[in-house]
């Protein structure tokens, strides 16, 4: 049985500095760079700070490891610097197309995540009731044996599809893809699909025949106008996006931001459209109306590449800014001006595909409207518009065929790896249990729809759950329903770094090594310049933790799946895959940890620019029309919140990711708890003062609080906003536990997108109380 991988390192030296200004004789100064000596000369030989511990950057024994960040789902390439087996600094890898040498707050805080004393340290086996959080420590042998026997027992009684594999964060491929596929369960899912991006992916496939993929293909270098709808760059601190947004603005690109809240991005915009939540499609239809009636669209491009223009023109003939104004609560002049701002800069003009777009359940249609505007602008496949991302060539590790498809999609997915027309079925012939083609048309597995079968047994029982790196109670709406499922399951396995909220419900808890302590599979990133990135450990795993690949393999061997796990070490697996691109781990290390390939980003670079059923940009969707869905997006009002309620909106803080980083010491102290943003006039009317403690009660009586009010002029009076991921109920996370309020707990409802299976979560609303409701 292989032990956890040993670190693999590359020696680097800091650049040479000037000669020392004074003679260095003390033994402790041996090995110091000239720069260090010069610095110390300033303070003298007894200087405390300089002598205690020399700045890492002045040392000659710094070891640098190429890796990929895991502090958010964006996956920046990083350089991890270590001295004496301790990580001292993490920098962006300049060779990486995403980080380009820079990192965000979270990426910089990786060491703090690693050294969080609250980490899971050893395997645990439950001794109390589910949810109580009482465990005993166990050996890996016992914990893995226990899981394997539980899984085999379930398979014997119900078939392999009775185990669901839910995973998030960057090691999830081992569990929701490789292990789940070898095991034979089609019920594998990532929250990054149906709880985040699947509407934009399905809408793109329907409209232009291409997925958006992990990296939104905006050709930022040449863009002259962009529109962001709900995307809050700067608070959504994806590194590359912040770089591109800032550079484009500095170059003079115009920015339109549509958001009920004056986000950071909106504060930088040329035009801010403070739209009434849920009415974006009306705005998009009005933009189409202006672009078409004023002739500010790319007629030649549409003639050549698109179908259905005449029907579209008729469809939007009456959706004028004046029509949209009372719906959106926007000034019609502002609607017209923003449409012109975009139209006049075509084709270097883009309505940016958002990322988290599961809002109201009609999201695939709204995203279709976004992409139709982009088509009118002539942006698809054009310089300064939306490039075609391509997946790099890379073969899988040779293994016997899988009987089921993996969990496709998600923000880290390869855009080439979307689902086929064939519904994946397990070896027993059963299809996914999430309702595809019964309650929704198509798309990757709808994670939240796997919860009801755990409770009802319909369409068939799911009695086991392997949860990897996903906080089940902070990512899936209706957490009470999730708890009910967790009570009923026969086997709950949690693999994680931290004792997150759902850990208390697990039968067996496996402590994973962090991204800084482990290998993972290669990243084949679909991009303008497709590339392959690798992660290698900078230090060995701390405590009794193990890497995900090792855990997946050890389980596989115990489950009779050894045919799929012929490799013994991560290095062996990675080296074998790299042969297909004529590389190796050694060569990757020498070449900066990144292997970049040529892309085919523009119309002239590809034979079939728009691989839809008609081979055109389908302004009118043939697939949707045939399936009985609206072939052109329409504005359909969503349900208004009850009187006295505010629509509950949620989003990001730049120093935090999901429910993952709130306990990370250096990030915790930057933003220890969230607040509820409330329009200042509303606050004055209700008599709330800044930072007053309040309780939030949603339309179904779910309560969160106390939480502070942030009274602000930066939000509309009909909604409130919270940073997602707070309100942990996880005693083992000593900093985050009990701090702030959970938006997920207030999402007792969602609306299922009938096209892609996405869960629209902005259909909840809250009342604000000054005392805890009875």
């Amino acid at each position: 049985m292989p032990e956890a991988d040993a670190p693999t390192r590359i020696e680097v030296s800091p650049p040479p500095g000037p000669p020392p200004r004074v003679g260095i004789t003390r033994r402790s100064f041996l090995g110091l760079s000239a720069a260090a000596a010069a610095a110390m000369a300033v303070f003298g030989r007894t200087a405390r700070a300089a002598i205690d511990r020399l700045p890492w950057i002045q040392r000659t024994d710094v070891v640098t490891t190429h890796s990929v960040c895991d502090m958010c789902p964006w996956r920046c390439g990083i350089l991890v610097h270590s001295v004496d087996g301790r990580i001292v600094k993490i920098d962006g890898n300049p060779a990486d197309p995403k980080s380009r040498g820079h990192l965000c707050a979270r990426g910089q805080a990786g060491i703090s995540f690693l050294e969080d004393p609250d980490r899971l340290r050893t395997p645990l086996i439950r001794t109390g009731e589910r949810g109580e959080g009482r465990f005993r420590e166990a050996s890996w042998e016992e914990a893995l044996d226990r899981i394997a026997s539980g899984m085999l027992d379930i398979a014997e009684r119900h078939g392999p599809e009775a185990i669901a594999f839910l995973g998030h964060t960057s090691g999830d491929t081992w569990f929701v893809e490789y292990l789940a596929q070898a095991w034979g369960s089609p019920n594998a899912a990532k929250p990054s699909s149906s709880l985040c991006t699947s509407p934009r992916e399905e809408a793109a496939l329907l409209t232009v025949g291409r997925a958006i993929g992990g990296h939104e293909p905006v050709d930022w270098e040449g863009v002259e106008a962009i529109a962001l709808i709900g995307s809050h760059v700067g608070e959504d601190a994806r590194n590359t996006l912040m770089q591109d947004f800032s550079s484009a603005r500095a170059r003079g690109a115009k920015v339109v931001v549509v958001d009920p809240r004056l986000s950071t991005a909106a504060s930088k915009a040329d035009l801010w459209l403070p739209i009434k939540p849920g009415t974006d499609t009306a705005l998009l239809l009005a933009w189409m109306n202006v672009l078409i009636t004023e002739g500010r669209y790319d007629a030649e491009y549409l003639d050549r590449y698109a179908s259905g223009f005449d029907e579209l023109a008729a469809h939007v003939a009456d959706t004028t800014p004046e029509w949209a104004a009372p719906i959106t609560d926007l000034d019609p002049g502002l609607i017209r001006e923003s449409a012109r701002m975009l139209g006049d800069r075509r084709p270097r003009s883009v309505v940016v595909p958002g990322r988290h777009v599961t809002w109201y359940g009609n999201d695939t249609q709204r995203m279709r409207a976004v992409y139709i505007v982009d088509a009118l602008l002539g942006a698809w496949g054009r310089e300064g518009g939306l490039y075609f991302n391509a997946s790099p060539y890379l073969e899988p590790y040779p293994h016997p065929a899988f009987t089921v498809a993996g969990s496709a999609g998600g923000c880290s997915a390869d855009p080439g790896a979307e689902e086929s027309d064939e519904l994946p079925a397990g070896p027993t012939g059963k299809h996914r249990a999430d309702g595809v083609r019964e309650t929704f048309l198509r798309g990757p597995t709808a994670l939240q729809e796997l919860v009801p079968p755990m409770i009802t047994g319909d369409p068939y029982p799911i009695t086991g759950l392997v949860a990897y790196g996903i906080n089940l109670l902070h990512s899936i709406p209706d957490p009470e329903r999730t708890r009910e499922a967790l009570r009923r399951l026969d086997l709950v396995v949690a693999i994680d770094v931290l004792p997150q909220d759902h850990i208390a419900w697990a039968d067996v808890v496996l402590p994973e090594a962090t991204y800084l302590e482990r290998h993972d599979d290669l990243w084949a990133v679909g991009h303008k310049t497709p590339y392959i990135a690798m992660r290698e450990p900078a230090i060995p795993p701390m405590y009794d933790t193990k890497p995900g690949w090792w855990i997946a393999r050890e389980l596989g061997l115990r489950l009779g799946l050894e045919r799929w796990f012929r490799w013994e070490t991560a290095e062996e697996y990675l080296d074998r895959r790299l042969i297909s691109i004529g590389s190796s781990l050694d060569r990757m290390r020498e070449e900066g940890g990144i292997a970049v390939q040529d892309g085919a980003p523009y119309l002239g670079d590809v034979d079939t620019p728009f691989p839809t059923p008609t081979g055109t940009i389908e302004l009118v969707s043939t697939t949707l029309g045939e399936a009985g869905h609206a072939p052109l997006p329409r504005y359909e009002p969503i349900e208004e919140p009850p009187a006295g309620h505010y629509r509950l909106l949620y989003g990001r803080h730049p120093a935090h990711t999901f429910a993952k980083t709130q306990n990370t010491p250096v990030l915790h102290e930057l933003f220890p708890e969230n607040a509820v943003w409330l329009n200042a006039t509303e606050a004055a009317r209700l008599g709330f003062h800044q930072r007053q403690e309040v309780w939030l009660e949603n339309q179904d009586g779910a309560v969160q609080g106390p939480v502070a009010v942030r009274t602000t002029e930066r939000i509309r009076p009909d909604c409130v906003f919270m940073v997602h991921g707070y309100g942990h109920r996880a005693p083992g996370m000593t900093r985050a536990d009990g701090r702030g309020a959970s938006d997920t707990a207030l999402q007792t409802r969602y609306v299922l997108d009938p096209i892609c299976g996405g869960a629209g979560m902005r259909v909840n609303s809250v009342r604000i109380h000054t005392e805890a409701p009875a």
Binding site: G44, P55, V666
Partner: protein, 200 residues
């Protein structure tokens, strides 16, 4: 002569706090201690609101008020314009903390006064200060103010507007704000100690 200086393009800054964490890691600051802070300012009423983020750290003033008040000479100015504290000579008396018009000094748990050094320990390595290096928005520039071809001189020359904070103190700060809308219009009193970001 060399006079090191920094410029922050306020129009580019997204307030993301990457600089703040990079500084803490690079300089091994203990939890609760920060050399940088980010101030979020909003003016106006919905929907006509202006928001701006302003990063603040030691301004390395040419006429630094902190230097003269130090009774032990622990606070001093280098030949290339950087204000430093020698922790061995510092008694933690806080005279400099009081004297700093910007509230950018704090007492380190080890008992000496600490603050931004422009990552002075990086000078010989050819690398920018950690905050400049990591900034995803490209808002920060560092270099020699006396060299017209340095990045900082070029950025200042190209800016539509250049501000220093509280110019009436005559301290001649070496941190410049570029392309701001609000930065110098406010008369708020700087807090006494450095703290974390405020937004969210």
């Amino acid at each position: 002569m060399t006079r090191y200086a920094m410029a922050v393009d306020v129009d580019r800054c997204l307030g993301c706090e990457a600089c703040l964490v990079a500084c803490s890691v690079e300089n091994r600051l203990p939890l609760g201690s920060h050399r940088l802070r980010i101030r979020e300012t909003a003016t106006g009423a919905f929907p006509d609101v202006t928001v701006e983020f302003r990063v603040e750290q030691c301004f390395h003033c040419a006429e630094a008020p902190c230097v003269g008040v130090c009774p032990t000479g622990a606070t001093f100015k280098t030949d290339d314009g950087i204000v430093l504290v020698d922790p061995d000579r510092c008694t933690g008396c806080k005279a400099c903390v009081t004297a700093c018009p910007y509230g950018m000094r704090y007492v380190h748990p080890r008992g000496y006064v600490d603050k931004c050094t422009f990552c002075e320990h990086r000078r010989g390595t050819g690398r920018d200060p950690a905050c400049v290096e990591t900034c995803p928005a490209g808002a920060r520039v560092f270099g020699d103010l006396d060299d017209p071809d340095s990045p900082v001189s070029e950025a200042i020359a190209a800016a539509d507007r250049v501000d220093v904070l509280f110019p009436n103190t005559d301290a001649e700060p070496s941190l410049f704000y570029l392309n701001a809308r609000l930065v110098n219009t406010l008369a708020e009193t700087a807090p006494a100690t450095v703290t974390g970001g405020e937004h969210g």
